[in-house]
Amino acid sequence: MSDRPTNVRGTGRRLLRRGAQGVRRTVARRPRLFFYLAILGPGVITANAGNDAGGIATFASVGADHGYKLLWILVPLTLSLGIVQEMCARMGAVTGKGLADLIRERFGVRWTALVMLALLIANGGVTVSEFVGIAAAMELFGVARYISVPIAAIAIWWLVVKGSYKRIERVFLVMSLVFLGYIVSAFLAHPGWGTVAREVVHPHFDLTPAYLFTIVAIVGTTISPYMQVFIQSSVVEKGVRVETYPFTRADVWIGTLFSNATVFFIVVCTAATLYVHGDHVDTASEAARALRPLAGPYAEILFAIGLFGASMLAAGVLPLATAYSISEALGFEKGVSSSFREAPIFLGIFTFLVALGASIAMIPELPFIRVLLVTQVINGLLLPVILIAILRLVNNPDLMGKHVNGPVYNVAAWLTTIIVSALSLLFIIISIKPGLFQR
């Protein structure tokens, strides 16, 4: 005792035994984490982020213009979305790196520049659509877009740069849940469920520009390029690894099914309420009418709340995510807490996208639904670039080891890519020469 005059507490067999017990008790508390991962993991969040202003506009007009006729496309689309999302989630878990990171490290500068340009344009388009969504939502409340859009843009910029966006994000998220009202509304509208069931399994195809335009928009809004980047980053950030990956895979598929189920009901609902009367959707208030079976005279308010929440959410996240991706790939300094001098390009991209979105949304007489559809088409046209990069990465054994795609899976994934590319190509050709396929 005398050579340790001052006690640093410790030692003793009794204590050790107590310790071993403690290990057991602590471990028993853990499963909560996995439970959380499975319920509200990156997959569910990402897939449902797809149902933003552009998504709602696209599917509302699909239902209104084409009735149930395009419902069949949701089946292959759900599969494709799940497959694409799963590949990115798997890459995140196996490599621990973001998509932009991997593209740069594996494909070098030129490919990176191409992919990042595609991402910048696609995300720029989507950002525009979010601000258009904000404008439309506020106009339903009677606020002119020249007031609402600049205020929203400045507020978003300020909240993100000051780092307090994260706390407000949840409010927007909850507001956007209003769109789940379409599900209830779909049932209340009493659609012909027999017809609906028949159309789901009955594909048909038109080679008209209008039809192709709609399909490319549907693909673009469902499998948006940003979603791939988004899900891989969230998986990496969550620290998901190969051992816990099965939870994430389940999460991805649950998210995909859930989000496309929502989409399905939006189409059914608008078809049952608007298409049957021969109405088209050109403005936000027309899209809101599909909620009448649920909310009656309050349909517009309900719709406006949902649209505003979803648009504000994405209008902050998208420019930020784009700036992160590009900075990550090209090696610029990044982070919202940095000052303009430390991270000029990062904050520059973010600011540019917010400003771009806001200024386009303020153009007078902007056709609401049309603009939203066009941005989704741009997404669809640029999607093949990202898909090809993803497929080449996920099949690289140096990177993925034994977690490369299986043969069946690979066929499905390549088929998705080829079909999406062919659709985009076809759409471009037909837009240039409209009469090409008509006798």
Binding site: A20, G22, V23, G96, V109, R110, F230, G239, G331, G335
Partner: protein, 412 residues
């Protein structure tokens, strides 16, 4: 001076100036000085890669490589230990710039000739370097480049397992463990683990303590068990107990049993307490002094201690030499200012604040903030001191998560 991007894909010429192959990669050997020398080249001929040793080359420049003999050894290229391929392992990868304390991406590699040897001198991380590879030669700008001296490269994030920089160990250690932890966030979890493994036990322990709890557990869980136990011994007992609590049961027991007896007992003592209680927050490294000492005897004991705990601003007075019964608290300041001959019982405070091991963590943190304490003793029903909760643990609880992680990687 050459840039890697200017020589890749250039022809390899024989004695007559005929093109025999294409330059695919440049091989350097790490660990030989601050600026590793070029050891050879990977040449590509008809979809096959073969090795060209340095001594086969008579000229190396922007126009390509010239051989000094007509004999070519066409055996396929195999990477040897310690060799790095500049195009494959360095270009486009991230590295830690020890001087600038940041993570950067390599846009190009600078090679300089000195005394008939070529050496890698730096990594170009500027936009100009990027542009050099993107734009055709005509459009090249002559803007100044920003080059990281290779001597400041602390860690190279590459997949080539054999090249892990043993030489980087000393360089990374120039950074504070907190900085290393912050920089490691930019890398994948595998690379983060690699960085931890490359450090000495003590730095590794300090760096781990700065990382999120789950990440600590992941890294230590994947590591060689003996090494993990060594690192755990260097962590403070409360942090080590938290990590073990995050690991699967068998793994945690295994690591615990591999630790040295003394550290093992310290950690084991803390394990039973739930995370969100005073017991879970506390550490058992603190100093006790028996009541019958004088001020000067107490100071003498402190000086004589082989290893003082981090927290000695408060000294805990117990009833007797072998007792844990807490009777008073003395701030180091009062001890130093007090009359040397005064007995402790006259200098100590007896109206101190305590926590019970089952108290909620949030309440404990609140109490520390409220009474402006640096530490709060945790005392059981019998009045024995079990440990102390220090102010830094309290801060972690009181500050919102966003504040502690000022640099989120993506959203928000």
């Amino acid at each position: 001076m050459l840039y890697l991007s200017q020589v890749l894909g250039r022809p390899i010429l024989d004695l007559e100036g005929e093109r025999v192959a294409t330059l695919k990669d440049v091989i350097v050997r790490l660990g030989e000085g601050d600026h590793p020398p070029v050891a050879g080249f990977v040449a590509r001929y008809r979809r096959r890669d073969f090795f060209l040793p340095r001594w086969r080359i008579s000229h190396f420049g922007e126009n390509g490589v010239r051989l000094n003999a007509d004999i070519l050894d066409l055996r396929p290229f195999v990477r040897r230990d310690g060799e790095v391929l500049l195009a494959r392992d360095v270009l486009d990868k991230q590295l830690i710039d020890v001087d600038g304390k940041r993570v950067v991406r390599v846009n190009d590699v600078q090679i300089i000739e000195a005394a008939n040897e070529w050496h890698v001198t730096g990594a170009d991380v500027s936009l100009a370097g990027l542009w050099r590879r993107l734009a055709p030669a005509k459009l090249r700008s002559h803007r100044p480049v920003e080059v990281i001296d290779w001597a400041d490269v602390g860690y190279l994030a590459t997949d080539a397992a054999t090249v892990q920089l043993k030489s980087s160990r000393g360089k990374l250690a120039r950074l504070h463990p907190v900085e290393i932890a912050r920089l490691a966030e930019a890398f994948s979890y595998q690379q983060g683990a690699e960085i931890v493994e490359s450090l000495d036990d003590e730095t590794a322990a300090e760096m781990l303590e700065e990382m999120p709890a789950e990440r600590q557990a992941q890294i230590l869980g994947d590591m060689d068990e003996e090494r993990a136990a060594d690192i755990l011994e260097h962590m403070s007992p409360d942090e080590a107990a938290d990590v073990l609590g995050d690991l699967p049961e068998e793994k945690a027991e295994d690591l615990l049993l591999r630790m040295e007896d003394e550290e093992q007992a310290d950690v084991a003592e803390l394990l039973p307490y739930a995370d969100d209680t005073a017991g879970g927050l506390m550490t058992n490294e603190f100093v006790t002094l028996p009541l019958d000492l004088s001020v000067s005897e107490s100071l003498a004991r402190l000086r004589k201690m082989a290893e003082t705990p981090n927290m000695i601003y408060y000294l805990y007075v117990v009833a007797a030499e072998d007792s844990w019964k807490l009777v008073g608290v003395i701030a180091l300041r009062s001890l130093i200012l007090a009359e040397p001959s005064a007995p402790l019982r006259h200098v100590m405070r007896t109206d101190f604040q305590v926590a019970h091991p089952d108290d909620r963590a949030g309440d404990v943190a609140q109490k520390i903030a409220e009474y402006n304490l640096l530490a709060l003793p945790v005392v059981d029903e019998a009045g024995d001191i079990l440990g102390i909760v220090t102010v830094d643990d309290a801060i972690e609880i009181l500050l919102p998560k966003d504040w502690r992680q000022r640099l989120p990687r993506l959203f928000g």
